[in-house]
């Protein structure tokens, strides 16, 4: 081959090679650029989510019911840790994680990849672990949720799981608010897949969790829980619940449910105790429902407050069934019908009200619908309208049967009577607050609606004071204060029929009269020693009310002898 021809061949080969390289470059850099960029990012980049601190749950008096502490977890990955280093790593980690050298070595031997060696350690441990400078050992930030008041308002506060996610109570219903948003970092790994901290880039800033300021008063809550514990100790029972709320604003001052649990040690309590009976359980209200029948009759004008009601016969015959009364009361003034809790009187009153009017009146008090409180799993209670009624239904309703209500729903309804007929939605969360104490979401005035006319509410209130002053609710009296309320003893329905020996004892009331500041509902589930509400729930109400007015330093309305 002559030199010139050889030169041409070499040039041609080089040209082809260059064209091939340029073509490939064009393919990689232009045509497939996005795919390769994505692949590079997948290999080099890694996102890291750093959880922001969870918000507190505080009472209205500034008590921290739930708070968080910064902690760290120590992890290890035997696949990234040379076996030669294991003894030294175990020696240095042992005092930091409070484990023996042998235990650490055993775990490194057993595990095949990433695992937590220890959790919930002091944050200072992170610096000590970083000094080890081993790729296979490190720390991750974590939080420990702390419930300093133990069982106080446990079912209201709820609890978080091991990952710090709310599972019950306010911790669950306000998960997004309390948990905030994790900060997202993007970090780059070098050729050995080791993260290079200098290339850490904040992709999405985090948002610390907001704190909740509750309407609960820690002292009132403690009083209510103590008195329920005492009541259960005195009379026995499967459980107890109570609600204390301000009828003017709907703010819940105490919401107690027993048996309770410590949210910090939730595993120590059986799962059945995790529910909030005051919100999640609906049972028949018994005679505490009678005032709403009377309210319907007074509101529709078929009954006047001064009327005499026939309570004779020791009961009343309805649709072939004889419904017994506690005694043959004869003729009673209307206030005495409630004071003596006459079944016959209440049933005769119910039958004077039209079905639709009775239905409307009951619905206006919120029965059969959840109140909308900021807690999960609220019971709506059972209330069937006239379409589902039988010939016995109005009589049943008159004595608090064929309807079920949670203590919270009953408190809401009694608050309407106490609040001159205006029904206010119960509320538990006053505001959400950021870390600096700035209110982010102020409390909004809960929606209100009129449930009964003011004059009817006042007449009813007077009748309910008679229950406490001369009727079945005498044990609920508070020295120095006028109290209005009603007892209710309900048989519990099990499997479609009333179970013998299983009762719910209720007392619902408010004080002081006039201008009530507290509505209190107490429900004792299946009391054992005695089941009458007058002996079980009314005394509990009285003790709770007396301690609350003392706590609040309220001057007595009724004064006796001077010293």
């Amino acid at each position: 081959m002559v030199p010139r021809a050889r030169f041409v061949v070499v040039i041609a080969v080089l040209a082809v090679w260059t064209a091939a390289v340029v073509g490939r470059l064009f393919q990689v850099q232009v045509l497939q650029s996005r795919a390769w960029e994505a692949e590079a990012a997948r290999q080099q980049e890694r996102t890291l989510e750093v959880q922001e601190p969870r918000g507190d749950i505080r009472t209205r008096d500034g008590r921290i019911l739930a708070g968080s502490l910064e902690r760290v977890a120590v992890w290890a990955n035997p696949r990234k840790l040379s076996r030669a280093w294991w003894p030294e790593v175990a020696d240095r980690l042992a005092p930091l994680v409070s484990q023996t050298r042998t235990a650490i070595l055993a775990q490194l031997e057993e595990r095949d990849g990433f695992f937590y060696l220890a959790k919930d350690l002091e944050p200072e441990v992170a610096r000590e672990v970083a000094r080890l400078r081993h790729k296979g050992v490190g720390t991750l930030p974590m939080e420990r949720r702390v419930y300093p008041h133990g069982t106080l308002a446990g079912p209201v506060v709820g609890f978080v799981d091991a990952e710090g996610v709310g599972q019950a109570g306010l911790e669950s219903s306000y998960e997004k608010t309390l948990g905030g948003a994790a900060a997202v970092y993007r970090l780059f790994r070098d050729g050995k897949t080791v993260p290079t901290p200098l290339d850490l880039r904040l992709e999405k800033p985090g948002r610390p969790g907001l704190s909740l300021e509750l309407s609960l008063d820690s002292r009132v809550q403690a009083v209510v829980e103590q008195e329920l514990v005492r009541t259960l100790a005195d009379v026995g029972g499967a459980g107890a619940s109570a609600v204390v709320l301000d009828p003017r604003t709907g703010e819940i001052l105490a919401l107690a449910s027993l048996p309770s649990y410590d949210p910090g040690h939730v595993g120590d309590s059986p799962r059945r105790d995790w529910r909030n009976r005051a919100v999640e359980d609906a049972v028949e209200p018994g005679s505490t429902f009678k005032p709403f029948i009377v309210a319907a009759a007074l509101g529709t004008g078929v009954l006047q407050p001064w009327e005499i009601v026939d309570c004779s016969g020791g009961g009343v015959q309805v649709a072939g069934e004889f419904i017994h009364d506690h005694a043959n009361y004869g003729l009673l003034p209307l206030r005495a019908v409630l004071a003596k809790s006459s079944n016959a009187g209440a049933i005769r009153i119910a039958h004077r009200v039209g079905e639709q009017q009775l239905d409307e009146a009951i619905r206006l008090f919120g029965f059969g619908r959840p109140t909308g409180i900021e807690l999960p799993a609220e019971a709506s209670g059972i209330y069937r309208g006239p379409a589902g009624w039988s010939a016995l239904s109005r009589a049943g309703l008159a004595i608090g049967q064929e309807v079920s209500t949670s203590p919270l729903q009953l408190a809401q309804a009694y608050a309407a009577i106490a609040n001159d007929g205006v029904l206010v939605k119960p509320t538990l969360v006053l505001a959400t607050v950021d870390r600096d104490g700035t209110i982010v979401t102020p409390s909004h005035r809960p929606p209100q609606r009129r449930a009964l006319a003011p004059e009817v509410a006042r007449a009813l209130t007077e009748m309910l004071t008679a229950v406490v002053e001369e009727g079945t609710g005498r044990a609920a009296a508070v020295p120095g204060f006028r109290v209005a309320g009603k007892t209710g003893t309900a048989q519990k329905a099990v499997g479609g029929s009333y179970a013998a020996g299983r009762h719910a004892a209720w007392f619902a009331g408010f004080l002081p009269v006039p201008n009530p500041e507290f509505v209190i509902v107490v429900c004792i589930d299946e009391p054992e020693v005695t089941f009458w509400a007058a002996d079980v729930a009314a005394p509990a109400f009285g003790r709770i009310a007396a301690r609350i007015v003392t706590l609040r330093g309220m001057p007595p309305q009724l004064v006796g002898e001077r010293t």
Binding site: H149, T472, A477, P479, P556, V559
Partner: protein, 128 residues
């Protein structure tokens, strides 16, 4: 560099070598001084910044630790002063609850008055 030995016939060499060498050395020293001055003027303030940053980081860490301790102590105080806990330890503390009926009120006339108790009629049994 000094020429330590030479032939007498090479005397002419000493003078030019020593002269160039001294000049070169002088320039080197001047250059080194210049670099030294430039570096000192550049590094010194930055060293102060670095030192300050280190100090700030150390103080931040200290503040973080104090805040963590404060937070822990606040939560511990909460637990120790819980109303429920205190109410359960009234007897240990030598205290007692005051019943509503035993609480006296100061009247407008400046005299203490006792709350009136409600009517004490016997309650009929077996009421709903």
């Amino acid at each position: 560099m000094r020429v330590l030995s030479r032939l007498p016939s090479n005397d002419w060499l000493e003078r030019p070598l020593d002269g160039r060498w001294r000049r070169w050395l002088t320039w080197c020293c001047l250059g080194a001084a210049l670099v030294g001055v430039v570096l000192a003027s550049f590094v010194a303030p930055r060293q102060a910044v670095v030192r300050m940053r280190y100090e700030i980081a150390r103080l931040h860490e200290h503040v973080d630790r104090l805040e963590r301790d404060h937070r822990r102590l606040v939560l511990e105080r909460e637990a120790l002063s819980s109303p429920a806990l205190l109410a359960g330890k009234l007897e240990d503390l030598g205290l007692t609850q005051v019943g509503a009926g035993r609480l006296l009120a100061l009247g407008a006339d400046g005299r203490l008055q006792r709350p009136a108790t409600s009517p004490a009629q016997p309650r009929p049994q077996g009421r709903r």
